[in-house]
């Protein structure tokens, strides 16, 4: 019996397959309109990679924004719990983890046993999320990775004080067209800083505890992570493929269920 975790995010859907040893396959696809279908595609993709078929005996656990209402999985588990499991599997020393996805940022605390201890998420306002960064990238007319690379060269930092994504947009515009224009790298650093300060605010609500891991798509943004480290004052743990952590956690849950002998 193989364990499969699928994380249906608002932007991407991720699947991970585990066997006794470790990850044997994974996939990341864009989320479509239908959660059911996105999950199906991600699962098929992962199975294909692993050279498996659906009836080869896989136990599927789903999670993420769209994870609850799908029929493909035998079990569903909340994103926060899966993140805790996933992070613990990768970094047993992590006591805190910051997950930055497209539409939500979640900070969790993890017990020594790898269980979720506490969490807090960014609610009701898009400031400080991945989608905010995407909007900004569109505005600056450069791809996300280029933007991240550019931020590393910043010497100063533009002030972006608005917490509302829409207002921040006009602040950025005014920086671009100021006389003389604010250097692009400083604007990017300013944007990242505004996201980071929101995230740190979240962390502080439950109290920062080391080690800290960073997961989710935004963790691939090296520039932002660097600023985050600067503000935290210490280095964070970033997995090789941060986007997959929740799916991995779901797979871990699946494995536990298999061990407990529960089957679909």
């Amino acid at each position: 019996m193989r364990a499969l975790g699928v994380d249906i995010g608002s932007l991407t859907t991720k699947a991970v397959i585990l066997d006794g040893e470790g990850i044997i396959a994974s996939s990341v696809i864009a989320s479509g309109d239908e959660s059911e279908q996105s999950a199906g595609n991600a699962i098929d993709e992962a199975l294909k990679q692993a050279g498996l078929k659906k009836d080869d005996g896989v136990f599927i656990v789903s999670t993420g924004a769209g994870g609850k209402d799908i029929s493909l999985s035998q079990q569903s588990k909340s994103l926060t719990s899966c993140l805790a499991r996933g992070v613990h599997r990768l970094f047993p020393s992590a006591r805190m983890s910051i997950d930055m996805g497209a539409e939500s940022s979640t900070v969790i605390k993890i017990s020594e046993r790898g269980r979720l201890n506490d969490w807090v998420n960014q609610d009701k306002c898009a400031a400080g999320t991945g989608i905010f960064l995407q909007q900004m990238a569109k505005l600056m007319q450069m791809p996300l990775d280029e933007m991240a690379a550019l931020s590393l060269q910043a010497k100063g930092r533009a002030d972006i004080t608005s917490t509302c994504a829409v207002f921040a947009e006009s602040e950025v515009i005014s920086h671009v067209h100021r006389e003389p224009p604010t250097p692009k790298e400083d604007i990017v650093a300013g944007i990242y800083y505004s996201v980071v300060s929101r995230i740190i605010s979240l962390c502080k609500r439950i109290g920062i505890e080391r080690d800290v891991a960073v997961t989710g798509g935004v963790a691939m943004n090296g520039g932002l992570v660097k600023i985050l480290e600067g503000e935290l004052g210490f280095a964070v743990l970033v997995p090789e493929r941060p986007q997959l952590v929740a799916a991995l956690g779901a797979a871990v849950v699946a494995q536990e269920s298999i061990e407990k002998g529960i089957s679909g």
Partner: protein, 355 residues
């Protein structure tokens, strides 16, 4: 008298050209990233085909978010005053205005002459603004101009919990995925926005008559929701989006007529020489031409005459201007000798000396 009003909004730039109280032309363009360029392009579009040039404008008033960056404007006035002034052109009876623009929403209470009594603006969050609706139109893949009609076709508005512009978008996507109709989604959003607007309006007090201005007033779905929530029939002008620019143009006309000087005008007479500065300033914004100063001056240096706008104002006589220091011993000397001087007699404190 040819004037222009230009409104550089956050989403759209509008201009109105007027000639002796009649609208010559009006345009709406997209706001580009650079206000200066946008303003030049907008006025050029407004003048197209009118046979007029920018130089023909006697006075230009700028308003809107980019108002300070219009290089050819003689003055800038806030959009709040301009919307109130502009709407009187169509509906002098309007007392309550809801201006719904690209990035903000304002509730204004005004009087018959378009003078603002009270106003309030949203802040901190752009939820429920024009930009927000644009995002939604984008997601639903309906042209902006059509979202109004679409909402009107809704049978069952679905409730929205969030007013964050970015999140409402994803909530809308989620509903779409669930197969909710676009019409119902739009109607639900409009309802959420209307509720917010109503709260703004209540804080300035709602009086009859009521109007909606700004680009969103072109959105019939939104207007329908507001009609229901506010419980009043809004008076709508044919192009509600240009009301701000129209108000600015009307202010420009006022200025030309000299109803009120734009900058409190001060006229200075005199010179400086090796012995000091000899200037007399007359604040023509204050001076009402009463003529008290004329007999008060023992040297008779003042006279009262009509200015360019035909208003009576005091001035220093032509022939006295070159020899002020000789004629006038200084106002303090006058006061101590005569017990009065031009300063003390002037009821509006319009006269000043430098010596």
């Amino acid at each position: 008298m040819i004037v222009a009003g230009i409104d550089i909004g956050s989403r759209a730039a509008k201009a109105v050209v007027m000639n002796n109280g009649a609208i010559v032309s009006s345009v709406t363009c997209d706001t580009g990233p650079e206000s200066v360029k946008t303003s030049q392009m907008t006025i050029a579009r407004a003048l197209e085909g009118t046979g007029l040039a920018l130089d023909d404008m006697e006075y230009v008033v700028a308003t809107g978010y980019g108002r300070v960056l219009v290089p050819f404007a003689n003055e800038n006035i806030s959009e709040i005053s301009c919307h109130a002034r502009g709407i009187t052109w169509y509906f002098p009876e309007v007392r309550t205005i809801l201006d719904m623009g690209g990035q903000d929403c304002k509730a204004i209470n005004c009087d018959a002459e378009g003078r603002v009594n009270n106003f309030i603006m949203n802040d901190k969050c752009a939820g429920g603004t024009g930009r927000f609706l644009e995002m939604i139109a984008d997601v639903l893949n309906i042209p902006l101009e059509k979202i109004g009609e679409a909402a009107l076709r809704s049978k069952q508005a679905i409730p929205f919990n969030t007013i964050c512009a970015v999140f409402a978008k994803s909530e809308a996507i989620a509903y779409l995925r669930k197969g909710v109709s676009k019409e119902d989604i739009l109607a639900g959003l409009n309802e959420a926005i209307a509720t917010r607007c109503l709260n703004l309006l209540k804080r300035v007090s709602i009086e009859k008559e009521f109007t909606i201005t700004g680009g969103i007033a072109k959105n019939q779905g939104m207007v329908a929701q507001l009609r229901e929530k506010v419980g009043l029939e809004p008076l709508l002008s044919e192009d509600p989006q240009i009301i701000g620019a129209l108000g600015a143009a009307l202010f420009a006309e006022d200025r030309c007529r000299g109803k009120a000087a734009a900058v409190p005008a001060k006229v200075q007479y005199g010179y400086s020489d090796g012995t000091g500065n000899y200037f007399i300033t007359i604040d023509t914004g204050r001076c009402d031409g009463c003529g008290e100063c004329v007999p008060a001056c023992p040297s008779g240096i003042f006279e009262v005459a009509a200015d360019d706008n035909g208003q009576l104002k005091a001035r220093v006589k032509e022939d006295a201007r070159k020899k002020l220091a000789l004629l006038c011993p200084g106002y303090e000397v006058c006061l101590s000798k005569l017990g009065r001087n031009c300063h003390t007699v002037c009821p509006r404190e319009a006269i000043n000396h430098t010596w």
